[in-house]
Each structure stands twice: as structure tokens, then as C-alpha cells.
């Protein structure tokens, strides 16, 4: 075999600061980690870009889920308070409850429903709700407000029986009303969330479709999205502990950071797993 002309076998690293890999025993460079000998710096950059895009994609997935969840929560809340108010008015009409008793129940019932529905809202939505720290009015304050609205210049004590019934009915009806301008946003949230989810899935499908090894890419996409979801869920679970109540900005940051960290860790883990000799063989590479 003819001797080769003395020259470096190859080089790696950025131009100008590249490490030359030579044959023979004169090479005093530290051994590299196992991997392709002539690994290009550009490949590392591309890998980082792919990871960033995967993290972004998992964030889009998390926000899609958040919008869908909150739209559902608001819809459920509006329906339940309206139903509760209707039921109480019906009970008063049928004589099952006195108007005063029903007004007292109505004043508390809406807050109970709010607490129940909050359990199914997203962490960001919940933090926003807590941030207002707006405790409800007492029954006396609610009655006073209703009197001012219906009979300006009078007090509850000055009203006759029929007028008092009107005031109690107003409190009960008010407990079933919600802001139409707020509720009108719900279909938009729902559409936005679903649209975002569709785009996220479409990007994943396209990435898998374009990949040389579709099985490998499919596993990676799945792991990244699942990791992002788990990271977001972990961040949500720890939101109360880390941010305290009513801190929507902190919860949003935690949600984003948790989702990105989860996605990146899952991507890294998937990469490690898919580099195992047995897995590589199973993938047919």
C-alpha cells in the first residue's frame, strides 16, 4: 500500500480555531467523546436550532391547551351561575324558599361555583383571577346596591313588602348575570386554541414526513411534545409554591420556562436513547 502524503486527516471546530486531527502518535490532543470523527460545528448549530424550534412548538401546544381549557371553564361557569339563579327564582315562585333566604343563598352560591370551576382552569387563568383579590360583597352590601338601583334615595327598611321582594329578586338575578363582553371572547379563545393545536400537530407531521428516518423523528417529536406538556404541568403544580397566589406574570414565566425545560430535556433524552446501538439497529440505520 502506498504511503499517504503527510497531512491532517481532518479538522473540526470553527474555522481559524479548528483542531487538526492527525495520524500517528504525535497527536497530543485530548480524545473526543465518541461520535463522528469529523463533526462539523454547523451541525451543532443546526441541532441547537432544532431544539429551540421543538421547545417553541411545545410552548405553542401548551398555550393551545390553556386557551381551550379556559374557554371551556368560562362557558361552564356562565351556564352554571345562570342555572343556579333560575333555580332559586323558581324555588321562590313555588314557595320552597323565601325571597330573602334565596337572595342569601344566591349571594354565596356564585362564589362557590366560581371556586369549583377554578379547579379546571389553567394556572395562568387562575392566577389572573386571584390577582384581582376582589372579595365579594356581603349580602347587606348587595342588598344596599340593589336598593340604590331600583329605589334611589330609599333604604331597605323604608320599602314595603312587595318592593323588598323586588330587591331580593334583583340580588338573585344579579347572581346569574355575567359580562357579555367577556363571554363573547370565549369562542375566539376556543378557535385560537384549536387553531394553535392544529398548527402544532401539522408542523410535527411535516417534520416527520421530511425526515429520512420517519420512525426516529416520530419518536423525537412525541417525546418533545410530551416533555413540554409534563414540564408545563410540573410548573403549574408548583406555581402556588413558587409564585404564591395571584401572580399571573410569575405563573406565566414559570409555565413557559417549565414547558421549555421539559421539551429540551425530553429531546435530549430521546436523542440519547435513539443513539443506543440496539435502538439504532432497531430503527434500521
Amino acid at each position: 500500500m502506498a504511503d499517504r502524503v503527510p497531512q491532517p486527516l481532518c479538522q473540526f471546530g470553527p474555522i481559524g480555531a479548528a483542531l487538526l486531527i492527525d495520524t500517528g502518535t504525535l497527536n497530543r490532543q485530548a480524545s473526543r467523546a465518541p461520535g463522528p470523527l469529523c463533526h462539523d460545528a454547523r451541525q451543532a448549530d443546526e441541532r441547537q436550532l432544532q431544539q429551540a424550534l421543538a421547545a417553541l412548538q411545545s410552548q405553542a401546544e401548551l398555550f393551545a391547551w390553556r386557551y381551550i381549557t379556559d374557554a371551556h371553564a368560562r362557558q361552564a361557569y356562565v351556564q352554571r351561575i345562570a342555572e343556579s339563579s333560575r333555580q332559586l327564582l323558581e324555588d321562590v315562585r313555588l314557595g320552597r324558599l323565601s325571597a330573602e333566604e334565596a337572595a342569601r343563598i344566591a349571594n354565596g352560591a356564585r362564589n362557590v361555583i366560581m371556586d369549583e370551576v377554578r379547579a379546571i382552569t389553567s394556572a395562568i387563568g387562575r392566577a389572573g383571577a386571584e390577582a384581582t383579590k376582589a372579595s365579594g360583597l356581603t349580602l347587606d352590601m348587595a342588598l344596599d346596591k340593589a336598593v340604590k338601583k331600583l329605589f334611589p334615595g330609599k333604604t331597605l327598611a323604608e320599602l314595603g313588602t312587595a318592593q323588598k321582594r323586588q330587591v331580593f329578586a334583583e340580588v338573585i338575578e344579579a347572581s346569574g348575570r355575567s359580562s357579555p363582553r367577556f363571554t363573547s371572547q370565549v369562542p375566539k379563545w376556543s378557535r385560537f386554541g384549536k387553531g394553535l393545536a392544529v398548527v402544532t400537530v401539522a408542523i410535527s407531521v411535516y417534520t416527520i414526513w421530511q425526515a429520512q428516518n420517519k420512525l426516529r423523528q416520530g419518536v423525537k417529536e412525541g417525546a418533545t411534545l410530551a416533555g413540554g406538556a409534563l414540564g408545563g404541568a410540573a410548573a403549574t403544580a408548583s406555581a402556588g409554591l413558587v409564585c404564591g397566589p395571584g401572580a399571573p406574570v410569575c405563573v406565566t414565566v414559570l409555565f413557559v420556562v417549565g414547558g421549555i425545560a421539559g421539551a429540551l430535556l425530553a429531546d435530549k433524552a430521546a436523542e440519547q436513547l435513539l443513539s443506543q446501538r440496539d435502538v439504532v439497529a432497531w430503527l434500521g440505520e
Partner: protein, 149 residues
């Protein structure tokens, strides 16, 4: 400290650049009764409820009773009440619906006045913020305003 209990032209004052002039005498101190009542009345625009004609009329009556001029009330609505109450109409599944707790509201407005948001003197940003804060209550405010004249 000057007396702020009586409504004055200063309530609607703006600086030469058109920015609303806050009331430093109120910052950290008890607001005048008229001002406090106006905050409470205006905050009702931000409740998670549907305001019918009687509600709007009741708010207008309370505001008229304060004696504050319409320009001053507009400033209070946009720059003092809206910044602290607007989130109530973003809260999921819903925010306060019957009324804001008065002590909380007064404290929140005073804190906002004492520590205005970042870059609040920058007019475009302030304009954007006010637009955002009042997006879901502007129509109702216009209904109230129509009854003030």
C-alpha cells in the same frame, strides 16, 4: 397639604404634553370622599355582570352626586380605576360580580398612583395601555357619560 375634598378644575387637568396630572396629595393618603365615591362607582363598570339601563343610571347618579366634572371622571376612569380593575374582566372563570371590596379598591388605586407602571409618561405606551384597560368597558362608560350631561 391642599384640600382635595372639593372638586376642582385640577381634576381634569393635563400637562402641556397632554398627560393626565395625577394628584400627588392623594398618593399614600386618604382620598377625598368625592374621589373615593367616584372610584367605587366607576369600578362597577368592571364587574363580571351585564349592566342594564337601571345599572347604568345608578352609576351615573352616584357619579353626579360626587360633583366632579365629566372631564375629571373620564380621567379617573381611564387612569385610576381602569388600571386596577381591568383584570377582573380577564379573570377565568370569572371575577368579582357584585362589587369590589371598598378598602381593597381604594388601596389598589392609591398604590397605582404612588407607583405608576413603567414608562407611563411615554404617550404612545400610555395610550395603548388605556385602550387595553378599557376595552371591555368603554361602551358602558359611554352610556354612563351620556347621562352625566
Amino acid at each position: 397639604m391642599s384640600d382635595v375634598s372639593a372638586p376642582s378644575a385640577n381634576d381634569a387637568a393635563k400637562d402641556p404634553a397632554g398627560h393626565p396630572i395625577h394628584h400627588p396629595v392623594d398618593d399614600g393618603h386618604a382620598p377625598s370622599p368625592a374621589r373615593r365615591e367616584a372610584w367605587l362607582a366607576l369600578s362597577e363598570l368592571f364587574l363580571d355582570t351585564a349592566l342594564d339601563a337601571a345599572d347604568i343610571a345608578a352609576i351615573a347618579r352616584r357619579l353626579r352626586a360626587t360633583g366632579l366634572p365629566a372631564g375629571a371622571l373620564q380621567q379617573l376612569y381611564q387612569h385610576e380605576v381602569a388600571p386596577v380593575c381591568w383584570r377582573n374582566l380577564q379573570a377565568v372563570p370569572g371575577g368579582a360580580w357584585a362589587g369590589f371590596e371598598p378598602a381593597w379598591l381604594v388601596n389598589a388605586v392609591q398604590q397605582h398612583l404612588a407607583r405608576p407602571p413603567l414608562l407611563h409618561a411615554w404617550k404612545p405606551l400610555q395610550h395603548w395601555r388605556v385602550t387595553r384597560w378599557t376595552a371591555r368597558t368603554r361602551d358602558d362608560w359611554l352610556r354612563v357619560k351620556a347621562l352625566l350631561v
